[in-house]
């Protein structure tokens, strides 16, 4: 691969040369840091760039590999973190002045596992304030811009993560997803985004928004890369009381890209109010998967229509409870949009929160039959391409951004967003593959089959 393209290499492309010492982690990390230097001021990606620390870790990785102590495919791979993840000794701001002075003494569990696997952390990237919003625009931070059109939003809440991965600033960025916050920026920036099953990836050391809906997970430039990260970080963690004790299979090793015989349902409730160009790209993606051997039919689950009400009840009430003290003591330190949502959440009666959790149980029960008849569900990740920054406060725009994503936080089901083409304006669209709880392997298998049949994930944004 040409050195000028090193920053766009995937983990899969880098791992072999790194292991064989044909390439040094120092070169890989320097390429990512050059990229950060080139683009950060224009696109507003970083809250904290830890360049010298990254260089030291890259040298250490180089030395370990030289000694024959290769740790696996993440060894020497540059990674960024949404600034909600704790990295010992570096502030976790959550995109808010309220948390600006907080410096953790311990890594988040997923960060510790990434570092154990040899990954090199480049720094902390931007997010919607406290991860509570789908646009990625934060009044307290740099204005994060979409790399496909800088006048458009990156999507959120993991906006910096989407931009970093799309532009070659690291191979991976760790995001979080409470109502779509990994999948929305992945869709709008043209990357892969994996929200694993609830409880699969530890939340310990990741600042919460809504305890029962929060899902940490990676954004990457390929499906197999997402599997590599999943394999490194998934699994039981005593630091997280909701962490699943179920065993985790070696997903990356099991992927073949074959979907022959698998059954997919196109979820009718997620085909409402889709922009025509996005719908055409989604329909073409479904046809591509049919040609790959996937058996596809349409399925309707009317209970899904209640997901927005249930999701709002749970997310707003849990978020409101979490922020109550700061809302009382430092209301002026919140941006207007996040403050109003948190205040609304703090005012919700307990009755309505409980109803939200009951509705969640009812929706999970309604999907039980679906998972018997189908191995995966297919849907457009976001019903529109990236909106303009000037429209970021419009409630109709925000509601459409999260229209298809919130359901899967309620279900706790694994979902993977993959690029599925470009609108006539040159903006990415995204296909979501969703599956049964704890069956990330099948979700990623279908996503990989689609990725192999197309080259959308290899398109580069016009930032050079």
């Amino acid at each position: 691969m040409p050195s000028s393209e090193l920053h766009y290499a995937t983990i899969e492309e880098l791992a072999g040369p790194l292991q064989r010492r044909e390439l040094s982690p120092v070169e890989v990390v320097e390429a990512a840091l050059r990229r950060a230097e080139q683009l950060d001021a224009r696109l507003g990606v970083f809250v904290t760039l830890t360049a010298e620390r990254a260089r030291a870790e890259a040298r250490q990785a180089e030395e370990e590999i030289r000694r024959g102590e290769y740790r696996g495919p993440l060894h020497g791979i540059p990674v960024t973190l949404k600034d909600l993840y704790d990295l010992a000794g570096v502030p976790t701001t959550c995109g808010s002045p309220i948390r600006a002075g907080f410096v953790p003494s311990e890594d988040a569990t997923s960060v510790a596992r990434l570092r154990q696997a040899g990954a090199v952390i480049l720094g902390k990237v931007t997010l919607h304030e406290f991860a509570f919003g789908p646009t990625g625009i934060n009044p307290h931070g740099p204005l994060t811009r979409n790399p496909w059109d800088p006048e458009r939003i990156p999507g959120g809440s993991s906006g910096g993560s989407g931009v970093a991965v799309a532009t070659g600033i690291g191979c991976v960025s760790m995001g979080t997803d409470t109502g779509g916050s990994i999948r929305i920026p992945a869709a709008l920036c043209g990357t892969v985004g994996l929200k694993a099953t609830y409880g699969r990836i530890s939340r310990a050391g990741v600042f919460p928004l809504s305890h029962s809906l929060d899902h940490p997970g990676p954004l990457t430039r390929s499906v197999r890369d997402a599997a590599y990260v999943f394999d490194a970080i998934a699994g039981h963690d005593l630091r997280d009381p909701a962490s699943s004790p179920l065993p985790v299979p070696d997903v990356a090793a099991s992927l073949t890209g074959s979907v022959s015989g698998l059954r997919a349902g196109v979820l009718r409730e997620c085909l409402v109010d889709i922009d025509a160009d996005v719908r055409a790209l989604f329909d073409a993606a479904v046809e591509t998967l049919r040609r790959c051997g996937l058996k596809v039919s349409e399925v309707s689950v009317p209970a899904a229509r209640y997901a927005p009400g249930a999701s709002t009840a749970i997310m707003f009430a849990e978020g409101g409870a979490l922020h109550q003290r700061w809302l009382a003591e430092r209301p002026q330190d919140y941006g207007a949009d996040v403050r109003s949502r948190l205040e609304l959440g703090a005012l919700l009666p307990a009755v309505h929160y409980i109803k939200g959790q009951q509705a969640r149980s009812a929706i999970i029960a309604a999907f039980a039959e679906v998972w018997e008849a189908y191995d995966v569900l297919l849907l457009p990740t976001v019903p529109m391409a990236a909106p303009r920054i000037e429209d970021q406060l419009r409630s109709d725009v925000r509601n459409r951004l999260i229209a298809n994503t919130r359901l899967f936080n309620l279900l706790g089901a694994p979902t993977c967003a993959v690029p599925c083409g470009f609108t006539p304006e040159g903006l990415p669209a995204s296909l979501t593959v969703a599956g049964r709880a704890f069956d990330e392997a099948t979700v990623l298998e279908v996503a990989l089959a689609y990725e192999r049949a197309t080259d959308w994930h290899r398109r580069r944004p016009p930032v050079d």
Binding site: A242, Y306, G309, P331, L347, A362, A366, R436, F438
Partner: protein, 67 residues
């Protein structure tokens, strides 16, 4: 007629100890009204038959099939 007035918001806010800006009260009242209505529509799912979801169920105790 709306059941959530600006005064309702003031009183609820006082109970939980927060102080929304005066010029935000009307918007909060409308938002709260709409949010409560959306949640109450979930009654159509027959909520009495369903226990509230719990995180331990979602993360491993979900179903026998998954175990």
């Amino acid at each position: 007629m709306s059941r959530i007035t600006i005064e309702t918001v003031r009183q609820l806010a006082a109970v939980v100890g927060i102080r929304p800006d005066e010029d935000q009260l009307a918007g909060l009242a409308r938002g709260l009204e709409a949010t409560l209505a959306a949640i109450e529509r979930c009654d159509e799912l027959g909520l009495a038959q369903h226990e509230p979801a719990a995180t331990f169920q979602l993360s491993g105790g979900a179903t026998d099939a998954e175990l």
